[in-house]
Symmetry: C2
Subunit: 504 residues, 2 copies
């Protein structure tokens, strides 16, 4: 007779398999699918999601959970068994809160809104998008109301945040982002006065796509991803996805005029992929075989992109290959020049093109606005004005049209409220992890300079990856760095960077 825990494992395994199949359908849609396949694909995706959701909210799963809880009463909190039951219980309780009709309506409305957003952005027509945004916000309010009395939720925005960063409260997130914003703004102001200190012309020009593709493949091959467990494909909007921990897929785009797009985007997505690839085998095919939260996921992409990929040792290691592939531009620059170019700080209107420092202001702006919306302090019709005012305040830039302003990102069209702040949270966590790693591995820079990235990877595997999704982010950060979330290390590191590059 199988124990309830075994049956629960199998049931969660089925839900996991359905989710992985969805990931493959999505990857295929964005990298391989012939265009005519779009409509049937949308139905296939909806079906897999619905079948998985029905299993996820079933009474049967609830019964197995209750029985498995009985069977694991004596298991330690950190054990795989207790963690599985605990995590699955929380997900089941959350999923059960939301009526099927509301779920379906959220999916439908955001799908319509995304289509409307594409057109609205093309025409920079916020008014055309406004009714869809209103509908999304209304539905998300109703969604949040489903969690009345849910343990740990107090602020009306908490349930939205929780879907991406479990357990982190709105006041906590607001405090982190405010501290970050207030630390970054003086840096940006100081840099603005020394803009000529950095010349990044080596990164701009004409970089043949074939050579960029070679570079991208070589970069990923040089990262400590498991051999035979990844692939890299071109796409329009880069992403990484895991079809399983042993099958991670990185995508990138190439810009013929700026080699940095492919270079750092590939390392960024590979950072996500290494985390997925690092899930311990004993957790596979369960809800524990995933990164703990978006913040932690982003900590890995940012760590590899910015701390490694924009670091002097790695760039010094890469430079000879850049010279081989692209010639003269890189013959004219040394490792220090490349390092400075890679770390240019300059406010820009578009978040996805922002440098690593001002990026945090883009996030703060968005989070503050979405919070104001859900606090009832900001009418949606006033959103463009508020956006533009804050852009002027934080970035010193005038927004010429809504396409380069409030309409630039898909997230709100897709119903993703509470998602943006995890981007900055990733930076904060990466900063804390970097401090911890450099303490434990004193010759890290030297090793990276020789292209040896295993020491960093092994540290991450031992301190972070091995926990999978067993713990809430607040528990996990304690286990990884021995303390709570704290923006101080990241801010200190940004200050050091600005000092080095801009002499301030």
């Amino acid at each position: 007779m199988a124990t309830a825990l075994d049956q629960l494992r199998e049931r969660l395994g089925v839900i996991s398999d359905l989710g992985r199949a969805q990931a493959l359908l999505a990857w295929d849609e964005r990298t391989q699918m012939p265009p005519a396949g779009a409509e049937p694909r949308a139905e296939q995706q909806a079906t897999l999601a619905r079948v998985g959701h029905e299993l996820q909210i079933s009474d049967e799963l609830g019964g197995l959970l209750a029985d498995a809880e009985g069977e694991t009463l004596n298991a330690s909190y950190d054990s795989d068994e207790a963690s599985l039951v605990r995590v699955a219980r929380r997900e089941w309780e959350k999923a059960r809160r939301v009526p099927t009709d509301l779920s379906a309506e959220l999916t439908r409305a955001s799908s319509l809104a995304e289509h409307a957003w594409v057109r609205a952005r093309e025409e920079s027509d916020f008014a055309a998008f406004l009714p869809h945004l209103e509908r999304n916000v209304e539905l998300k309010r109703r969604y949040a109301e489903c969690f009345e009395g849910f343990e740990g939720f107090e602020h009306p925005f908490d349930p939205l945040l929780d879907d991406f960063e479990p357990g982190l409260t709105t006041p906590e997130m607001a405090a982190i982002l405010a501290q970050l914003r207030d630390g970054v703004r003086p840096l940006v102001a100081a840099v603005a006065e020394r803009r000529d200190a950095v010349d990044d012309s080596c990164l701009h020009g004409r970089f043949p796509l074939a050579a960029q593709e070679t570079l991208a493949q070589e970069i990923v091959t040089g990262l400590p991803l498991q051999e035979g467990a990844w692939r890299l494909d071109p796409t329009v909007h880069p992403f990484a996805t895991a079809i399983s921990p042993a099958d991670v897929r990185i995508t990138t785009r190439f810009d013929e005029g700026f080699v940095g797009t492919a270079l750092w985007s590939v390392i960024h997505e590979a950072g996500h992929a290494m985390y997925e690839n690092g899930m311990p085998r004993e957790l596979w095919r369960s809800p524990l075989a995933s990164p703990s939260s978006l913040g932690f996921h982003e900590s890995q992409s940012r760590l590899w992109e910015n701390w490694v990929g924009r670091g002097r040792p790695y760039l010094g290691h890469l430079l000879p290959r850049l010279r081989d592939l692209f010639g003269e531009r890189f013959d004219a620059v040394d490792a220090d020049g490349l390092y400075r170019a890679a770390n240019k700080i300059e406010p820009a209107l578009i978040r996805v093109e922002a440098d690593q420092v001002t990026y945090n202001l883009h996030v703060a702006l968005r989070f503050e606005l979405e919070l104001a919306i859900f606090n009832g302090e900001l009418e949606l019709s006033d959103l463009p004005e508020a956006w533009n005012a804050r852009t002027a305040e934080y970035l010193g830039l005038e927004v010429p049209d809504d396409a380069s302003g409030v309409l630039q990102d898909v997230h709100w069209a897709a119903g993703l409220f509470g998602y943006f702040p995890t981007y900055s949270l990733g930076n904060v966590i990466a900063g804390q992890i970097w401090d911890a790693v450099t303490k434990d591995v004193p010759d890290l820079d030297e090793r990276i300079g020789r292209g040896e990235l295993e020491p960093l990877h092994d540290w991450l595997a031992e301190h972070l990856f091995r926990h999978g999704n067993k713990f809430m982010p607040a528990e996990l950060i304690e286990r990884v760095v021995g303390g709570p979330i704290d923006p101080a290390p990241y801010l200190r590191q940004l200050g050091e960077l600005a000092a080095e590059v801009y002499g301030i």
Copy 2:
């Protein structure tokens, strides 16, 4: 209130979506997946199959079927509604007959047998494979026994055949294949005396892979597949699959020493793909949006590969391009020479390398042996001997080892008994269709010679594709060509071909 028919449609739509997702997972596994992903992928495939199967055999589906039958009492036999209910009813009845444990054991045993077969073939060691074959046969006997009293099944092999060719009985299939065998053998014997009449050296040599890839892409682009609804990828064992009717995927392999591999394999698989692509929109996302049987599916691949792709008009159209891409070999040959080379008839040991005429003897041999096994007339341990004897009799060839004999095909390892005969059935149906098309489109050859393939495609769409899977093969052939399955046209055409090419 949704009607039972609407609910049935939705339920069958879910089952269809799950099947399509499985098709994508399988395509991806064979064309894109990083090798380390194999084990989790097997679990994902098994899960999707199981979830689909549970829906397929559910009491709920049975209830919807009964209610929908009541709602469609007055619908005409040929209507989409009546056909949907009729086809779904038959599939449900069949699926319900098989205990879940037996299904699972069949899957498990054939998976083990396939692995054992790979090794056994490598080492030409039939004894090592024998226990797996015995297990497969035993399980398939038990499977067949589940259908005791099922309408239309009389012969113990009928249930196995029915999974690939619904409704065709074993005696019917045996009669067709015997007529084919007895018609083909004298042709092969006559050709053997004039072997020097055909020189196919233009197809052998060195054909750079990049040029072959260009050729393959151009060939498929030139076929009347819907634009933006297909793709072509390299693989080890070529196949075609439909992720939806609007997303069909062709795969091929390339042989640097023989341009024919890619050329005719691509046209063959594209033939399958055009059939899938031709499913009428109103039948999408239902069990009716598939080809009617393997025999009909194969009729399309063979029609395009052999009647079109090895026909003089198409080859004449293709020749200038072959000269562009590969130069001298094709400069030295004219359209007639290319046509003769493409239709060389010469017995060979390996089925997948056989010419289009002797191919039917490979199939007859296999079908006769599997029938003897299930009739209890042949011990599995005697199979190699029986195989070799029949190879000598039909093909005049001595089998040097089991790897080139009884172990050459994966089908029996995969538990596919009753599958082989559909290959020849496809030829027979294609021959009947070709006669019907050439009657309706008198200038077909001329059009094909100009590269105009739409007239053939349009005929097929109107007479075959539009029926989807609404009818049993025996009903469908009547609707397509106005008569029953009949090998005579195909045999007459083969005779004409041999007369033209070999002057006999």
